[in-house]
């Protein structure tokens, strides 16, 4: 089934859907411009703006549901951005509204959580300003009706991410991580930019409607556009080969990791691929590359996750891996879109709940992040334990919880497409079972390995309530979306639907194998980290462990391939500029200066020799005139 037509829209809640973007933007502006005057109530304003945006989102959603299924793609025109090139407008359709609800819903919960988490931070107002800025930019990213508007949001979330990773910028590690995230993302943006050049040159338009409608036509360089869009997606979604920034990004405050680097921003790449699905469906090569990138990343992320002792980095590896699943699904075409987005939404819930849970643990443990110094926290932090546990069960695909439905769908769709991809995804699921169990058991079970001054305690209600709400989503979200193909039907006007939807086969070979592998992984983790002693210092481990600990040598590779040659090139260029180009200019000047220095020696100061040379000159002139004759 092809995506539905797009209809112009005005009036109603959809007509003012720009409020969703404007409100948090206004909040950010007030908080940044207001300065210290807003310190006392700034965080409440931030939460209020995010909630208001959520309310508008829900109303928009309701209004959209009230329209006929084929009528659910509405464009709200805003203003002429670049005359003759870009008209800014918002596209409200099932795909964008799904994201809107996730962003504003989970976003608001994380805003609320942050009131507690950041309560002792002197920069709390600024933090909320940046969070609001992020929400506004992310909403623009998903709501814009054209590639340029999407790109503005795309870079806006990059900026917010930069500011928030570097929120504690007085720590050099945070400042470096922020800079790295921005620059690596810019490499992806380069791809996105060139893709937009191609789109403009081919179609003379950037608007989704006309462009995507014609993407499948002959003579469209769909493969090139698809691969370039993928490069952009890789940057934002931390997919191979642009994955290296995500682990460092954990330098930011934990709510940031939850909102931006787990639930929403990093999934923008999946949004981009699904939104631009028309290009990928017209280019099997690009699709193949997307699935390969997805599978490679889901395995790489899982491997990294198995070796990290820093709880946030282990979760970050897991995020990489889960987004790998989504990208894989997005590369499968219409059959995978619904699963990709559904997994994205459920992942938003369970990963945010786990990150916030990790934050709650850190809050209790004096900001300790090393899991080897945790252990046995289940007894003192009941709520955190329970919510984290539900998230954990959801992500490993415990039957009937969210992750089970969505991840299983992805695996089955991949299996249908190519058994190799499918089985690799199954192995990834097994790894997930191991590393997530490792995190869970090391943190909440086993012996207490706390530092001496640690007095863990449950976090305040303002932090635990968001955890509870998120864990409800992690439990029931998947079933709600997947059972009866509810989400696929809802999404189909926006992204199309496969000829025949995937049936649900709980007892298929891959399904059973997955469950068995997950159980084995979890069991192994329990024997290794739950029951037995966990050493306080990480054991040396085999070269495989080192490989995983060093992020698969991604940083080393970047350093030796790009950074060092880059520094060398920079030094060479500076030298060339000073000595070569400028040297030429200054050399010319020096040459002229030198020769005039020699020439001026003729000026001896003896008036009579001047007179002689004048006479000589006069004689020459007179002689010349005589020679020419006719004087």
């Amino acid at each position: 089934m092809e995506p539905a037509e797009i209809f112009p829209h005005s009036g109603g809640v959809i007509g003012v859907s720009w409020l969703m973007i404007a409100l948090p933007l206004l909040g950010a502006a007030i908080l940044l411009l207001g300065g210290r005057r807003t310190d006392r109530w700034g965080h409440f304003l931030g939460v209020a703006m995010s909630l208001a945006s959520f309310v508008v989102g829900v109303l928009t959603f309701v209004e959209l549901l009230g329209l006929g299924e084929e009528q659910r793609r509405r464009v709200v025109e805003l203003f002429e951005f670049i005359p003759g090139m870009v008209n800014m407008g918002l596209l409200v359709d099932p795909l964008s509204i799904s994201f809107v609800l996730l962003i504003t819903g989970v976003g608001s919960l994380i805003h609320i959580y942050s009131i507690g988490y950041m309560s002792h931070d002197p920069g709390r107002r600024r933090f909320f300003a940046y969070l609001n800025l992020f929400v506004a930019a992310m909403l623009l990213l998903v709501l814009a009706d054209n590639y340029v508007g999407m790109f503005i949001g795309w870079e806006g979330v990059g900026l917010a991410s930069y500011l928030l990773i570097g929120f504690w910028q007085h720590k050099p590690s945070a400042a470096t991580a922020a800079q790295k995230a921005f620059i690596v993302n810019r490499v992806g943006d380069f791809g996105l930019l060139v893709a937009m050049f191609l789109i403009w040159t081919t179609f003379g338009s950037f608007a989704y409607g006309p462009v995507l409608g014609a993407a499948g036509d002959a003579n469209v360089p769909a493969t090139a556009i698809g691969l370039l869009l993928l490069l952009g997606a890789c940057g934002k979604s931390a997919q191979l080969p642009l994955q290296s920034w995500l682990l460092d990004a954990m330098e930011g405050p934990t709510p940031v990791s939850a909102l931006i680097h787990a639930a929403t921003m990093v999934t923008a790449g999946v949004y981009l691929i699904v939104r631009s699905g028309a290009f990928f469906q017209a280019a099997p090569t690009a699709q193949l590359v997307v699935t390969i990138v997805g599978v490679a990343t889901l395995l790489a992320g899982a491997i990294i996750g198995t070796a990290k002792d820093d709880i946030k980095k282990a979760l970050a590896g897991s995020t990489m891996s889960q987004i790998g699943y989504m990208v894989l699904a997005a590369g499968l075409g219409p059959i995978g879109y619904a699963f990709a987005i559904a997994h994205l939404i459920t992942h938003g819930f369970f990963k945010a709940s786990m990150f916030l849970g990790a934050g709650s643990v850190m809050h209790a443990m004096n900001d300790e992040v090393d899991m080897r110094k945790y252990g046995g926290l289940a007894s003192v932090m009941k709520v955190t334990w329970a919510t984290f546990g539900l998230g954990y069960l959801a992500i490993i695909g415990f039957p009937l919880l969210s992750g089970y439905w969505t991840k299983d769908g992805i695996i089955e769709a991949a299996m249908e497409h190519s058994p190799i991809l499918g089985w690799l995804a199954v192995i990834g699921a097994g790894l997930t079972g191991f590393y997530m169990s490792r995190v869970f058991f090391m943190t909440f079970h086993g012996k207490r390995r706390w530092a001496e001054d640690a007095h863990p305690h449950e976090s305040p209600a303002v932090m635990t309530w968001p955890l509870i709400l998120l864990s409800i989503g992690s439990v029931f979200g998947g079933a709600f979306l997947i059972v009866g193909n509810r989400f696929m039907t809802f999404l189909s006007p926006a992204v199309g639907a496969p000829e025949e939807p995937l049936g649900f086969h709980p007892f298929s070979v891959p399904g059973i194998t997955t469950l068995v592998l997950v159980a084995i992984g979890a069991g192994y983790a329990w024997t290794k980290y739950g029951r037995s002693e966990v050493p306080a210092v990480a054991p040396r481990g085999s070269f495989l462990t080192t490989f995983a600990r060093r992020d698969l040598y991604g940083d080393a590779l970047n350093e030796s391939l790009f950074m060092r040659p880059g520094q060398w090139l920079t030094r060479l260029a500076v030298f060339f500029d000073n000595r070569g180009v400028d040297g030429l200019v200054n050399g010319l000047a020096a040459g002229i200066g030198g020769s005039s220095g020699r020439l001026r020696r003729i000026q001896t100061g003896f008036a009579r020799s001047y007179a002689l040379s004048m006479l000589f000159g006069a004689a020459v002139v007179a002689g010349a005139l005589l020679l020419v004759g006719n004087l």
């Binding site: 100061g605 003896f606 008036a607 009579r608 007179a611 002689l612 006479l615």
Partner: protein
């Protein structure tokens, strides 16, 4: 008919020029310059006569005015140099060089 005047003018000019080149005393050099100027004046007046118009004579007046001004300034400079350097030789006044 005017050839003699021109020959005289050329002779006077040459004497002046040689004087400027070979003499060192600034006063003498100065007088030689005056000699050259007046040789030119003679030529101008001669040509005016030859062509039957007044252009040359007018120029001659200009030259005289300039010469007078030059005498004033020039002698003042020579006297000043003599005062400071106790010498009227043009070769001793060679500070303006390079």
């Amino acid at each position: 008919m005017t050839t003699h005047y021109l020959v005289l003018s050329a002779l006077l000019f040459s004497i002046g020029a040689v004087g400027v080149l070979v003499r060192r005393n600034a006063i003498v050099v100065f007088m030689c310059v005056e000699l050259m100027l007046n040789a030119c004046n003679l030529a101008f007046v001669t040509f005016a006569r030859q062509h039957g118009n007044l252009d040359g004579q007018i120029i001659a007046f200009f030259v005289m005015v300039v010469a007078a001004a030059e005498v004033v300034v020039g002698l003042a400079i020579i006297v000043t140099i003599f005062r400071t350097r106790r010498s009227a030789s043009v070769d001793d006044a060679n500070l303006l060089k390079y």
